[in-house]
């Protein structure tokens, strides 16, 4: 009898070059993305006198340090001299080593995970690495994708391989229909809240079920993106007709004969019916409400109808200490209704929620209303920005008092200087609400794009389902 395998098993098996006695496997890497961060890897190559084995299997995208205003001025728009050095160094390093490059003046530029998918660079069955943990976004295409530090970037550069121990397997099944006003972001926040931020530790999460099958690629990317916030190695969704329809015709998707051959290979990529997982968890989509985080890890998420938890309600001493610390950092009191928390600022964008679907959802709420706090809208890529403008979304946002900016990572991590001032509270569509992440002393509440827009127009965390006048 042939062993039943999961989708992930099949991809793994296909990429094992050799296996050591200690169980670690040498895996072949099909594509590796980098941003400005791992400049140490290029320095290391030069120091060791090594070259890049397959330059065309790498791709560099400038995303973390680019300004989101004044982009017509090119590099002159970068005010911080050290940031400018880092941006220019990526261009120089990729030129020297012959790596494909999408720099800040390329119309395709944006966040690597948004750019890559948009260009058709995430293809089912591949193994993809990146110098960024949110590369798991690409799991939506049936890609096994995981982040690597600068040393492993260097290893991929030199050998196109990595030594890996095979992770375990967690299946998360989501069935049913989402309620109105409930988004993919709410599902993944509900999953993280239930499983905790280390619930996926050492495992690859496969998302299945009727809710997932009914989702667009953009929604699936939001789900897979935040797999890393479960502490998981990666997240993955089996490819289907939705995937193929999304990919067909994209700039770097296979074409002509190659398309037919690729499609045939991709269609064999699903988990066998009797494949075994190390753990299985099920969710009912209909029971999920719009979510918001109150604390300092993504697992600190609750339905917007809830209240800030009390330390006394904690299940363990460690959790009690965490709640105490988080409440102090966030400036919140136990028992406060989440929908009563006033906010100072809104940020819509990122690799979690910076795609066209996300901007449409936010615009539907913003339309005909007025932001009462500063609100940034930062498209995930130049392409997303142009498509949004073609639909008139920019005009809706601008009319509603939102700032319409250029593509990049922006206020998710503030590397480019787009930061939340100390003590301010930001409703953000980003993936992480860690202490000081959006700026020193910044207080982050993770929400969906529609919920972020609702917060912008009311000035407080707001249940988008109850917004007076409804949503267009």
């Amino acid at each position: 009898m042939q062993n039943a395998r999961t989708l992930f098993d099949k991809i793994w098996d296909r990429h094992v070059i050799t296996q050591r006695d200690d169980g670690t496997a040498l895996l072949y890497i099909d594509r590796n993305f980098i941003h400005e961060g791992p400049f140490y890897a290029f320095d290391g190559l030069r120091r060791d006198g090594r070259g890049i084995r397959r330059p065309l299997k790498q791709i560099a995208v400038t995303d973390h340090y680019v300004p989101t205003l004044d982009r017509a001025r090119g590099i002159e728009a970068v005010r911080d001299p050290e940031a400018r050095v880092v941006i220019e160094r990526l261009a120089a390093n990729t030129r020297e080593f012959g790596i494909p490059f999408i720099g800040m003046n390329d119309p395709r530029q944006g966040i690597m995970h948004v750019v890559g998918a948009g260009l058709g660079l995430a293809q089912p069955g591949m193994i993809m690495t990146a110098s960024d943990s949110h590369v798991t976004t690409n799991g939506a295409f049936g890609v096994f994708s995981f982040g690597v530090g600068a040393s492993e970037v260097k290893h991929v550069f030199a050998t196109q391989t990595l030594w890996q121990r095979k992770p375990g397997k967690l299946r998360v099944t989501i069935d049913g229909t989402l309620g109105p006003g409930v988004a993919a972001k709410d599902i993944i926040l509900a999953i993280i809240a239930k499983l905790t931020i280390s619930g996926g530790s050492g495992r690859v999460v496969e998302y299945t079920g009727s809710t997932i099958r009914g989702m667009t690629m953009e929604q699936r990317m939001t789900i897979c993106n935040m797999s890393i916030e479960l502490g998981a190695r990666s997240g993955i969704i089996a490819p289907d007709d939705t995937t193929y329809a999304y990919l067909e015709g994209r700039e770097f998707a296979p074409r002509g004969d190659a398309w037919g051959k690729a499609l045939a290979a991709w269609r064999s990529l699903s988990s066998d019916a009797d494949a075994v997982y190390d753990r299985e968890v099920e969710f009912d989509a209909a029971s999920i409400a719009p979510m918001v985080t109150w604390g300092t890890v993504p697992g600190d998420a609750l339905p917007i109808t809830g209240t800030v938890p009390a330390p006394s309600a904690a299940a363990s001493e460690a959790q009690r200490a965490h709640i105490l610390r988080a409440l102090e950092y966030m400036g919140l009191e136990a028992g406060t209704r989440l929908a009563d928390i006033a906010i100072d600022r809104v940020f819509i964008g990122t690799c979690t929620n910076g795609r066209l679907d996300d901007l449409r959802a936010a615009a539907a709420v913003a339309k005909g209303r007025r932001a009462v706090v500063p609100a940034f809208v930062v498209p995930g890529s130049g392409d997303v920005k142009r498509r949004a403008e073609a639909e008139g979304l920019d005009k809706i946002f601008i009319a509603a008092g939102f700032e319409w900016r250029d593509a990049g990572c922006s206020m998710c991590v503030g590397a480019n200087g787009d930061i939340v001032p100390a003590g301010e509270r930001c409703a953000s569509t980003s993936p992480r609400n860690f202490e000081n992440r959006q700026g020193r002393g910044a207080r982050t509440h993770l929400v969906s794009p529609a919920m972020a827009a609702a917060a912008a127009v009311t000035g407080k965390l707001t249940d988008v389902r109850t917004l007076a006048g409804g949503v267009s």
């Binding site: 050799t18 400005e36 050290e82 050998t159 931020i197 502490g231 503030g414 202490e435 992440r437």
Partner: protein, 212 residues
């Protein structure tokens, strides 16, 4: 990188769970050259006030912990991003090993790659070690990599697991690219097969994105 064989030294109990890489080194320092001294950025927001003065109550600012070679930390140490600057900051501060019941997804690999030893011990053992360090500030821990043991201040010894290949790498201070190079023939043969079977993955289509 520096080889790791046996390390004895002052251990600091940093008990907070879920210490993430944003805490270990805020993003604004990742644009700095290594020569600027990444030790200065370690735990920056917890170690320093907004005006740059040290926070006297932060453990690594207090004697003797400012000379810690080993950190005994809360669970899920180094969660969050892939940023290797977190490892550079720990090493530059003088830390050679971290002990926790669980590490974040990238922390162990990034540590091994740079000669920083991550040791996984059971939660109760980590708590026991931490309690001794609180009771006797400056107490030392010894880590013997060949024997795969941790010896606490009370003399009690615990064994830990490590993959033989990682152990070899650390003991010899090896660059793992050198180890992988031994498999050059296997890689070349595999790659040839992959290029033939899945020609759409060769990356050739990306040639126009290379700067001329």
């Amino acid at each position: 990188m520096e080889a790791f064989v046996t390390v004895s030294g002052i251990a600091a109990p940093v008990d907070q769970p879920d210490i993430n890489t944003d805490m270990l080194i805020p993003v604004r320092f990742l644009r700095k050259p290594l020569s600027s001294g990444y030790r200065n950025y370690l735990f920056f927001n917890q170690r320093f006030n907004a005006d740059g003065t040290p926070k006297a109550d932060f453990i690594l600012n207090r004697e003797p912990y400012s000379r810690a070679k080993i950190l005994v930390t809360g669970a899920n140490f180094g969660s969050g991003s892939t940023r290797e600057g977190a490892i550079y900051a720990l090493l530059d501060f003088g830390v050679r090993a971290t002990i926790a019941s669980r590490f974040g997804p990238f922390q162990m690999t990034n540590s091994y790659q740079n000669g920083l030893l991550p040791v996984v011990l059971p939660e109760d053992v980590v708590r026991h070690l931490s309690a001794q360090l609180h009771a006797s500030p400056g107490a030392e821990i010894t880590i013997d990599l060949p024997q795969q043991t941790v010896t606490g201040p009370d003399g009690q010894t615990y064994t830990f697991d490590i993959e033989p290949s990682r152990k070899e790498q650390l003991l010899n201070g090896l660059d793992d690219i050198g180890i992988t190079s031994r498999y050059a023939d296997e890689i070349a043969a595999f790659e040839k097969g992959m290029d033939a079977e899945s020609p759409w993955l060769t990356g050739d289509a990306l040639e126009p994105l290379v700067q001329k």
